[in-house]
Symmetry: C2
Subunit: 197 residues, 2 copies
């Protein structure tokens, strides 16, 4: 099969998808060739349409096909609280929990000197432009080096706004896990972050 | 995000791919939205082009973008031996081994009464039309119920052709595996199929 150019090209393109290796890509390619053309066209069309119509919300940066996303446009949601996350998929994760009623701000990245990503390369300036009427900014970037650095950087920037509370999501032992198998850093964070009962 | 139609549609389409669940599909969808449009168009184009240009070889049924595939067209390959397999991907697997120099015949399925697939639904008639000059037919369908039934069916059909040797690939303990962990059926086949040293 590798002598068929269009097949190899399809495998190479599919192998660029996250989590897809050479073997899975080949398996998908064979699957696509065995499907009716309408089916395959529906996939290609869904890919192109989504990429064409979905863009960043003008306010929060989340993905939307409107000018302003449905969360920003929802007046029943508390506009005085902004939860800052790295990616649109983090918004989806928090929304799934159905427990947060504030708004979001999507940075589309984290500060990473190693990869040459500075504060101006992510949507920090846009966050500063949204602070009127805001009472709490929850920093919900990932608990990794870049996420922590980004949270610390934003916390410092917001320091002068004395009427805005800046919080960080709690780090600790995940529910359902076992103390014995929890790594030391997490355990140390869980101890330091202990709350009175 | 689930309120964005084109995003949900993309996730649903991706989740139809083999081995891709809801979570992987969502991860891929987010990835595609974050890529430059050219990149995404290249994927969609590779999908459509492959589906449009790749079809079954007129002779053996393997995938090709020519009228006759490169294996059938290759005169250095031994046309007196035909290896019968279920899928084009089985041809690719055998070709990877670089040890087989005959031709192929792709059935595009196996007989499966459970799924309503009978002998006329797979490329058995086409195989019978290729027998002039053939001296050996190797039945290399999978060692599962459908594969065995299909091999037995074809062997019976070829019985009257007394000058054609009909063989079945060996079943036994896979190289590198452990007798202790080999299932009984495989072990029993390995014993029955023992060869003299």
């Amino acid at each position: 099969m590798s002598n068929i150019d269009s097949f190899s090209r399809l495998c190479a393109q599919l192998a660029k998808l996250p989590g897809i290796g050479r073997k899975s890509a080949q398996r998908m390619a064979y699957y696509l060739l065995s499907q009716p053309p309408e089916q395959v066209e529906a996939l290609a069309d869904a890919i192109l349409t989504a990429r064409r119509t979905v863009h960043e919300c003008r306010v929060c940066g989340n993905y939307t096909d409107q000018d302003v996303c449905s969360i920003c446009a929802d007046e029943r949601r508390d506009g005085s609280t902004i939860c800052v996350v790295r990616d649109p998929r983090d918004v989806a994760a928090i929304e799934r929990m159905r427990d947060y009623n504030g708004k979001y701000h999507v940075l589309h990245g984290t500060i990473s000197p190693m990869e040459g990503i500075g504060p101006d390369d992510i949507r920090i300036r846009e966050l500063l432009g949204r602070l009127s009427g805001v009472r709490e900014v929850i920093l919900a970037t990932n608990p990794d080096i870049e996420g922590e650095a980004t949270a610390a950087y934003i916390a410092r920037l917001l320091k002068p706004f004395s009427d805005i509370k800046v919080t960080r999501i709690a780090h600790g032992v995940p529910i359902g896990s076992d103390l014995e198998y929890t790594d030391e850093v997490t355990l140390s964070r869980a101890l330091r972050g202990r709350t009175e009962l």
